[in-house]
Symmetry: D3
Amino acid sequence: MKYGARNHIIGKVTEIKKGTLMCQINLQIPADSLMSSVMTLDSMHEMDIRPGDSVRVVVKAVNVLLVKE
Amino acid sequence: MKYGARNHIIGKVTEIKKGTLMCQINLQIPADSLMSSVMTLDSMHEMDIRPGDSVRVVVKAVNVLLVKE
Amino acid sequence: MKYGARNHIIGKVTEIKKGTLMCQINLQIPADSLMSSVMTLDSMHEMDIRPGDSVRVVVKAVNVLLVKE
Amino acid sequence: MKYGARNHIIGKVTEIKKGTLMCQINLQIPADSLMSSVMTLDSMHEMDIRPGDSVRVVVKAVNVLLVKE
Amino acid sequence: MKYGARNHIIGKVTEIKKGTLMCQINLQIPADSLMSSVMTLDSMHEMDIRPGDSVRVVVKAVNVLLVKE
Amino acid sequence: MKYGARNHIIGKVTEIKKGTLMCQINLQIPADSLMSSVMTLDSMHEMDIRPGDSVRVVVKAVNVLLVKE
């Protein structure tokens, strides 16, 4: 598997919060950092994603914003 | 500083690759993971971002794609 | 605060519409123009955002679409 | 013309900066605010966009990030 | 109508799924392929979009991810 | 392979246009439709993508804009 994206790490699903149309998947990535993804419930069902699953977390570099605080 | 985004971690700039209009900022985040951001050179100059700088890396959850391999 | 994004203006929160997972924040920007942002309820709570608040409205230039009508 | 996006205002093209593949279009929107869009040169040519043109500036609400400074 | 985006095809609305804040519009594009868009209910009402409508489906090239399986 | 995105079709690479930092990949999808993706040259090299390759074209539904002309 090769991705046309600069950011693609492995994460572990820790929690799934379901809305009426969308859901929010919380993940643990290395060093105990946390990430979240929002997708449709349709995609969630199609992926058959569950807490404990290992998934690839992919973000295109153009969608990464840097802020100098 | 509070962000309207689920993903916002601190990263350290390791490399800046300049194109003619855009640039690519490579970063190190905890656990020696790597991330990249692409922005305009105008934004890079406005931020005055340099290798070694600590920056906030922000990604909205809707722009995070999960893949089950 | 310096942002790696070409578009970053100050807006005033006029309305918050809550869904079950996401919320929609309506804003007034200069010249009585209106903008909207959609984020997770989690982010909304973390930001403790309320009507009347001044916030920075940030959009990366790659996410701006132009149309010639 | 009706857009499936919460943010769609009229802007006037003030400057076009060309890279080798992409270009950056700078715009003036009401109240002398400035915005920028990045697109491919291919799209720029297809639109036949030039300084002085009036264009619709469209941003989906999910791509709008709010920050409380 | 000219779009500052590389991807803009005509689709036909086949289904609208409403959430509390957002909705999901399913579409049929040429060759019986299917696509989906998620937008706010506010935008859906403003567009007055209904099953059977023909609409332009627009995606900026930077938001298209390629994967080599 | 299962994707957390509503839009994921197979395309065939027809052309690769290289800039100094980014590249544009043009693709043919079913029914002779065309699509394009923009990514970094780094991702292009990592994918080892070439004209004639079959790739998965993935777009999250939140990044699909509908327009009623």
